[in-house]
């Protein structure tokens, strides 16, 4: 800056100085070159100082200005103190399903938009969070999450709205983080989304997580509507312990529901290939207690991950004057081996490198395998379900390869084979073999 000042002085002397020599001084003009130099020096100093103050003000303003960010975790607006935030996130899953050997029960090979879910999340007054997540896939618009949560302390949070009740382990895992393209049978026996209120929190430094909620109550695997058609409600609770990659816990729900012949309040169960293999017969509806119990756990150690879950779901059902409590159960054991580029976790694989052929980095690769099964109570047949069309059990074996190109892009390729007990006019229903693929973008 001193150099600039010097050049300005010289320039001024070259031009203004000449003028000064030619014109007689007026009352307002400096009387000497020294005075004019002083004046110019002051002007330069003032300009410097103004520039300095502008920078100080800009720095001060930056401290109190909100921030807009864009990155691998989505897009966000945030107030300077972090008390107010708005995040735009989302994910899209573009799937393909190809069935083989489906001669007796043809299933359509298809490409499909499995999930298209924009997520609007935010924070108000530092402790109140909200989340809105609709799904636009498969030709319909459905609200999956819509809730407000007050984080009063790590040990005490209150959530109200529509969200996942605290029962099933794999259900509580994000759809973007599952080992396989489709979730397994235990998830079919627990509620998907329900409307209610929940208290939850982390205790013992995060080693113990509890959640207790009071919900409208929904059939197994169902995404509940916004309004309940009956007075009966479900209580759901879960206690989960975690330590160094090991997580063990139990989830449960208890409630009661009364359906009708047209609105049965009963579920149907589907294969991993999303084909219905069990449904209740006509005239059968829920009428009484509904209880679920699910011991569950996972272990993540190094490149390996293991997730196991068992669910027992009992429901009193009625057909005409006959009421029976049916007890269905499902289980799964799923394993993951990240063969390169990362480590598995309940929140998915975060690749250590991103896919960049020029840099010879390829992201992360994961091999997965799963065995699972669902067994329908034998008492369901033949009064409550038709053994000629509804299978009494399904057992599946699946393997897959997942490629994490980066934190946002994931490509999946699975093969899953399912065997059934019953479900055909004679003998067992034809085995199901499905090849899945998925291209997922999540941010």
């Amino acid at each position: 800056m001193k150099e600039i000042s010097l050049w300005l002085c010289l320039a001024w002397l070259g031009f203004g100085g000449t003028a000064f020599a030619q014109e007689p001084p007026t009352e307002e003009q400096p009387q000497s070159v020294e005075e004019r130099l002083d004046e110019l020096d002051q002007k330069v100093r003032v300009l410097d100082r103004k520039s300095e103050l502008d920078k100080e003000q800009a720095a001060e303003k930056a401290k109190t200005a909100g921030q807009a960010t864009a990155g691998k975790d989505g897009f966000s607006l945030k107030s300077a103190d972090g008390a107010f935030q708005l995040k735009l996130r989302g994910y899209t899953q573009l799937d393909a399903r190809f069935y083989s050997g489906d001669d007796e029960r043809p299933a359509n090979d298809t490409f499909l938009l499995r999930r298209i879910r924009p997520i609007i999340e935010g924070t108000l007054f530092k402790i109140f969070d909200f989340r809105i997540m609709p799904d636009f896939a498969q030709g319909q618009t459905v609200l999956f999450d819509g809730y407000l949560e007050g984080r009063f302390s790590p040990a005490f949070k209150v959530r109200a709205g529509k969200f996942k009740p605290p029962v099933g382990l794999e259900r509580l895992q994000s759809a973007t983080d599952t080992f396989f393209v489709e979730r397994s049978y235990p998830t079919s026996l627990v509620p998907s989304r329900d409307v209610g209120i929940q208290v939850s929190g982390d205790l013992a430094g995060g080693g113990v997580n509890y959640a207790v909620g009071y919900f409208n109550g929904v059939p197994d695997g169902a995404n509940g509507g916004d309004v309940d058609a009956e007075d009966d409600k479900d209580v759901a609770a879960r206690l989960f312990f975690t330590r160094k990659g090991l997580g063990l816990g139990i989830g449960a729900s208890q409630g009661s529901t009364t359906g009708t012949v047209t609105a049965t309040g009963l579920p149907g169960y589907r294969t991993p290939g999303q084909q219905t293999f069990f449904s209740y017969g006509a005239g059968v509806f829920a009428d009484g207690d509904r209880i679920r119990l699910s011991p569950q756990g996972y272990l993540y150690a190094g490149a390996f991950g293991l997730l196991a879950e068992y669910v027992q779901s009992s429901q009193e059902v009625r057909r005409d004057a006959v009421v029976e409590e049916l007890e269905n159960e499902a289980w799964q054991v799923a394993a993951s081996w990240v063969i390169a580029g990362g480590e598995p976790s309940f929140r998915g694989v975060n690749p250590k490198t991103v896919f960049d052929p020029a840099a010879h980095t390829w992201g992360a690769f994961e091999l997965v395998a799963r065995i699972s099964g669902l067994d329908v109570d034998d008492e369901a047949f033949p009064l409550f379900a038709n053994p000629a069309s509804a299978a009494s059990a399904a057992d599946s074996l699946g393997v897959g390869l997942n490629w994490y190109l980066n934190r946002n892009l994931k490509v999946m390729l699975d093969y899953e084979r399912t065997e059934f007990e019953g479900g055909a006019a004679s003998g067992d229903r034809e085995d199901e073999s499905v090849l899945f693929s998925r291209f997922q973008i999540a941010f």
Binding site: E28, Q42, R45, V46, D48, R49, K50, E52, L53, E56, Q57, D81
Partner: protein, 327 residues
């Protein structure tokens, strides 16, 4: 029984053994004053109660500091440039509206006034306020919209103009307008203006707190500046107050109150005087009388109090905006 009494004694004595921390949100030029006050008070409090106390300082333009406290800066005490800023905090519900009655002298433990700091030899021959409106005199003063000190400067000039023009507000406005025409740069706070004048070498005269001017003459730019006392100035009464809502929440109300009361003690008054603030205690005022020139002073009450002065002069659309617009 003995065990119970011992436990009770431990319970009562417990707070005395735990360290406590205060935050003092102050205005721009009080850094040196409160560094010294904090050390002395901590020593006295430790001797009296056995408790360690640490006082953190936050400095900025007085109005800006008040806004920060209202917006959530967890200050246990505020020591600001003018009562209007503490009133704003009271209006936000953080302390009672009668806060000025809780400590002596309207909760103002020391005073100051507004003087001129000029360069050595006083090359522009500045003697009084009317010299500041002469063409070619460059005046440094901060922005009254952001600085409490600047508001005192402005009102001191206004008061002089009223006095010399027979109380005609139009003439006073014209006078102050001409004065601000000579201001080449407006800093946001008093300390910034001192930096502009002393360190950056800009301007012929700095309108300054007396304490800031004395500090510059005797310590920052020794031998480079001199003080000019104008014929008349304004009595500046910087107020102090406990921010009850914060102090109660942090359980620091007692120590915060003691901290402010310390300012009225002979030791606190002497520290103020040594930092060039005019002490209230007569004995101390007499002891340091030589350091403070005698100046005729009017008070903020001559302007109808701070609320009225603020509305008339410094609120959006007020006289200062009219004076300064288009510059």
């Amino acid at each position: 029984m003995r065990l119970k009494l011992a436990l009770l004694a431990l319970l009562l004595a417990g707070p005395a053994f735990g360290a406590v921390q205060l935050l003092n949100a102050s205005y721009d030029p009080t850094r040196e004053l409160y560094q010294e006050v904090n050390a002395a008070f901590a020593k006295q409090w430790k001797a009296k109660t056995g408790q360690d106390v640490t006082i953190q300082q936050s400095h900025g333009g007085s109005g800006k500091q008040a806004r920060s406290v209202i917006d959530g800066l967890p200050a246990d005490v505020v020591t600001l440039a003018l009562a209007y800023d503490v009133d704003a905090i009271a209006n936000a519900g953080l302390l009672p509206k009668n806060w000025q009655t809780r400590l002596p002298n309207n909760s103002s433990p020391y005073t100051s006034t507004i003087v001129f700091l000029v360069r050595k030899g006083n090359p522009k021959k500045i003697k009084d306020w009317d010299d500041l409106v002469r063409p070619g005199v460059s005046v440094i003063t901060p922005n009254p919209k952001t600085s409490g000190g600047a508001r005192w400067n402005y009102l001191a000039a206004w008061g002089f103009a009223l006095k010399t023009h027979g109380g005609d507000p139009a003439k006073a406005q014209d006078f102050v307008k001409r004065l601000y025409k000579n201001v080449p740069v407006l800093d946001t706070g008093a300390r910034g203006a001192t930096v502009t004048f002393v360190e950056r070498g800009i301007g012929d005269v700095l309108i300054a707190w007396e304490n800031e001017a004395l500090l510059s003459v005797r310590e920052i730019g020794k031998g480079q500046f001199q003080i000019v006392a104008p014929s008349v100035s304004i009595l500046a009464e910087p107020p102090v107050a406990v921010v009850d809502k914060v102090a109660n929440k942090k359980k620091t109300a007692a120590v915060a109150k003691a901290y402010l009361e310390f300012l009225y003690t002979p030791e606190g008054q002497e520290i103020a005087a040594k930092n060039y603030y005019r002490p209230r205690l007569p004995a101390m005022a007499q002891k340091y009388a030589q350091q403070f020139p005698e100046i005729k002073m009017f008070t903020i009450q001559d302007f109808g109090g701070w609320t009225r002065a603020q509305q008339t002069h410094f609120a959006d659309g007020g006289i200062f905006d009219k004076i300064y617009e288009g510059r």
